[in-house]
């Protein structure tokens, strides 16, 4: 682990966010920061509300209360943020209020991309096509809303070639070049997980949110995934990661937020989390074999 340095600027800030479904409070008064260049892990037992937090950040749910702000190009500045909140606008000058934006605008303008706990690939389209669809925006602009594309203008051809090259690079990175022309739905599970990450990356995000990317992977695949996630971080995309596998969390994350019954019970560097008694207690509420596994991971 690199020696501690001056904290990097805040990219995403969640403040006092709650999400209620009828009588059930899935997320309760949650606040945390995601810093640029970090891998931030969001952990917690089953049903703690992790996926709900993701759905609120990416606009699929509208939080019952709270503020979620994102500064894709700079840092979150509290004064500017308060001014923006009062103005009633969705965003401006490199600052976005995610709870006011529809989901696709969060992906497009605030540049937050995500994957899903149960994989959502375009199953009937090839691996390559999946990565091309993710580059819809630049391609659409290059095709002049299909007019230049219809007549096969050279500018569009060049853009499509660039999109294909980018997709090929990502297929190389995830080791799927040989299966580029196979339908995504026919790929093995582990490949689908990596393809979904590559697809999200093709949308050119600043923040990538991954919902249990290591679920169902074997140890070798899991190690490859860690390497992939680190390389994504080193290339300048920050990561927010939901993970059950403690070895993954402890190994790659720079910052950990622990959730239990929708409430934040700990927040800090992996070493601090490892020693936090409330975290250990929270994990004691889950089935025995998992506790044993967790205790082994965290060395308790």
């Amino acid at each position: 682990m690199a020696p501690p340095q001056a904290p990097s600027p805040t990219l995403l800030r969640v403040e006092r966010m709650s999400m209620r479904f009828g009588g059930l409070t899935a997320v309760d008064d949650l606040s945390f920061d995601v810093r640029r260049g970090d891998i931030t892990a969001l952990i917690g037992p089953n049903g703690a509300g992790k996926t709900t937090v993701f759905n609120c950040i990416t606009g699929f749910y509208k939080p019952t209360s709270g503020r979620i702000s994102m500064a894709p190009d700079g840092a979150i500045d509290s004064a500017a943020l308060d001014a923006l909140t009062r103005s009633g606008a969705r965003g401006g000058e490199g600052l976005h209020l995610l709870e006011r934006m529809p989901d696709h605008e969060i992906a497009r303008d605030a540049r937050v991309a995500r994957t899903f706990q149960n994989i959502r690939l375009f199953a009937g389209m090839t691996a390559l096509e999946n990565l091309i669809v993710a580059q819809h925006r630049p391609l659409m602009r290059a095709s002049a809303f299909s007019l230049a594309g219809l007549i096969g203008a050279p500018s569009y051809r060049a853009a499509e070639q660039a999109a294909r090259d980018k997709a090929r690079d990502w297929l190389d990175r995830i080791g799927l070049t040989a299966r580029a022309d196979d339908p995504a739905g026919a790929l093995p599970y582990g490949d689908q997980r990596r393809l979904e990450i590559a697809r999200a990356m093709c949308a050119d995000p600043v923040l990538l949110c991954l919902d249990e990317p290591a679920a169902g992977l074997n140890p070798r695949e899991s190690a490859e995934l860690n390497a992939l996630l680190r390389s994504i971080r080193d290339d300048g995309t920050s990561l927010l990661l939901i993970e059950h596998d403690m070895s993954v969390v402890m190994e790659i994350s720079d910052h950990v937020v622990v959730l239990d019954y929708g409430r934040k019970i700990a927040d800090g560097a992996p070493a601090e989390i490892r020693a936090d008694p409330s975290v250990i207690a929270a994990y004691l509420g889950v089935p025995d074999e998992e506790v044993a596994a967790v205790e082994q991971e965290i060395g308790a």
Partner: protein, 450 residues
């Protein structure tokens, strides 16, 4: 041992089917109420009919159970599902041959039947089928590519037809100017209707589009001041050969080209006109499929939530699909009006929408060749029923084969849903590839939930 027991099981099974068929046939076939001379109702019984139905069900079931049909059917289905490289060139050859046949069709029938006999073959079997091919291809954008179930497509067909009818009769606007206008108007209505309904998904979308189709028809019936209500609009200006009318006089097409006048000229011209319109529909669709907008349609059909997570504005993408499909429906409508010379609301009822949708589903959502084949089968098939007059000699004079059209379409649907639930051509061709283009089997391709 196993043989005899399976035969016995099959017999018992078939007997059960026979009994059920007989029971069903009792109220439907065996009992018949007819007025006698004094207009009193008398009950007739036709036990032979009921018996016939029961025996037919028994025999069919027995044959199905005993024949090794299941195994054969399975191998056939997989063989068609996974076209090899050879299969691909064969498909291309069939497409090329089919296109050649369609282009040459008027000439072929002209030589075979002469000008008088050919009229029916070009008009009923040519123009009529091609209208539905075009409508099928237009709806295919919405249903096949974008995965939005639209049960009111005929509304846009009606908008196109009335656009030409009204503009031409009231303001004398020429067909060639009306054609793009009809398309634009239909697309405009597509967007207008699309805005409120495209928030809905799946079954809800289907119901609301159905309602909109009916609303447009009812407006056409009741807005008599503009549309002349149920009576429709008659004497719409007929199609001209770029200004030359197809008439017998000295100013007509025949006189200009110094050939003897014949009504077949107009029909042949109409044939090539609708062929050109249909081909434009197909080419534009095939082209768009390879562009970002077309890929977005298909991605939308595959998974709408994933689309939104990638920053795709799904409302806009649905609207473009809806508007474009509507535009081609509008073109087809203008053609319909100029061909008939008469439009009335009864041409645009729900059965039309259902027929077009049946063509798309039967052909295979998303497939151009499949939809064309299904249009030929459904429209051509029901035209063929008119040719079956000789059956009257068997079933008596009251027998009208065309009355069985819907029954046969329904039967064809049931057979297809069992044999090829995804339509004639159900595999999908990728729009871009790195190594080689491999077709994608139907079971992976989603159908869309609106």
């Amino acid at each position: 041992m196993a043989e005899t027991s399976s035969v016995r099981a099959a017999l018992a099974d078939a007997a059960r089917y026979g009994l059920i068929a007989g029971a069903l046939a009792f109220p439907i076939l065996a009992l018949r109420v007819e007025p006698d001379f004094s207009n009193k109702l008398v009950l007739e019984t036709r036990w032979s009919w009921m018996l016939g139905a029961a025996i037919a069900a028994f025999v069919i079931r027995l044959v199905l159970a005993l024949a090794p049909a299941r195994a054969a059917r399975r191998t056939l289905a997989t063989a068609v599902d996974a076209p090899s490289a050879g299969g691909k060139t064969a498909t291309r050859a069939i497409a090329a041959f089919g296109l050649g046949l369609i282009v040459a069709w008027p000439l072929i029938v002209l030589f075979t039947f002469g000008p008088a006999g050919a009229l029916k073959w070009i008009d009923n079997y040519g123009v009529q089928i091609l209208i539905y091919v075009m409508l099928g291809w237009g709806l295919n954008i919405v249903v096949g590519l974008a995965g939005l179930l639209d049960l009111g497509y005929v509304a846009f067909y009606a908008v196109g037809a009335y656009a030409y009818a009204l503009l031409a009769t009231n303001y004398g606007v020429s067909f060639w100017l009306c054609l793009p206008l009809a398309g634009i108007l239909a697309a405009f209505w597509g967007i207008l209707l699309g805005f409120p309904v495209l928030r809905l998904r799946g079954d809800y979308l289907a119901i609301v589009t159905l309602a909109f189709g009916e609303i447009i028809r009812i407006v056409l019936v009741n807005f008599s001041a503009l549309t002349n209500g149920d009576a429709g609009i008659a004497s719409i200006p007929r199609v001209t050969f770029f200004g030359l009318p197809f008439i017998a006089g000295p100013k007509g097409f025949a006189a200009y080209f110094d050939i003897p006048f014949s009504p077949i000229h107009r029909v042949v011209f109409l044939y090539y006109l609708i062929l050109a319109l249909a081909l434009v529909t197909s080419l534009v669709t095939l082209r768009l499929r390879r562009l970002p907008i077309g890929r977005a349609w298909e991605a939308l059909r595959e998974d709408e939530i994933a689309c939104r997570s990638l920053g795709l504005d799904t409302t806009k993408i649905k609207l473009t699909a809806f508007a474009l499909g509507a535009m081609f429906g509008g073109f087809a409508g203008a053609f319909f009006a100029v061909r008939q010379g008469f439009v009335s609301p009864s041409s645009f009822n729900f059965v039309e929408s259902a027929t077009i949708l049946a063509i798309v589903v039967l052909g295979g959502r998303g497939s151009q060749i499949g939809v064309a084949a299904a249009a030929i089968a459904i429209v051509g098939g029901s035209e063929l029923l008119r040719e079956l007059d000789f059956l009257k000699q068997i079933f008596g004079d009251g027998f009208d084969p065309t009355q069985y059209r819907m029954l046969l379409v329904g039967l064809a649907m049931v057979v297809m849903m069992n044999w090829r639930p995804r339509g004639f051509v159900s595999s999908r061709t990728p729009t871009i590839f790195l190594g080689e283009r491999k077709t994608i089997a139907a079971d992976l391709v989603q159908e869309g939930r609106g």
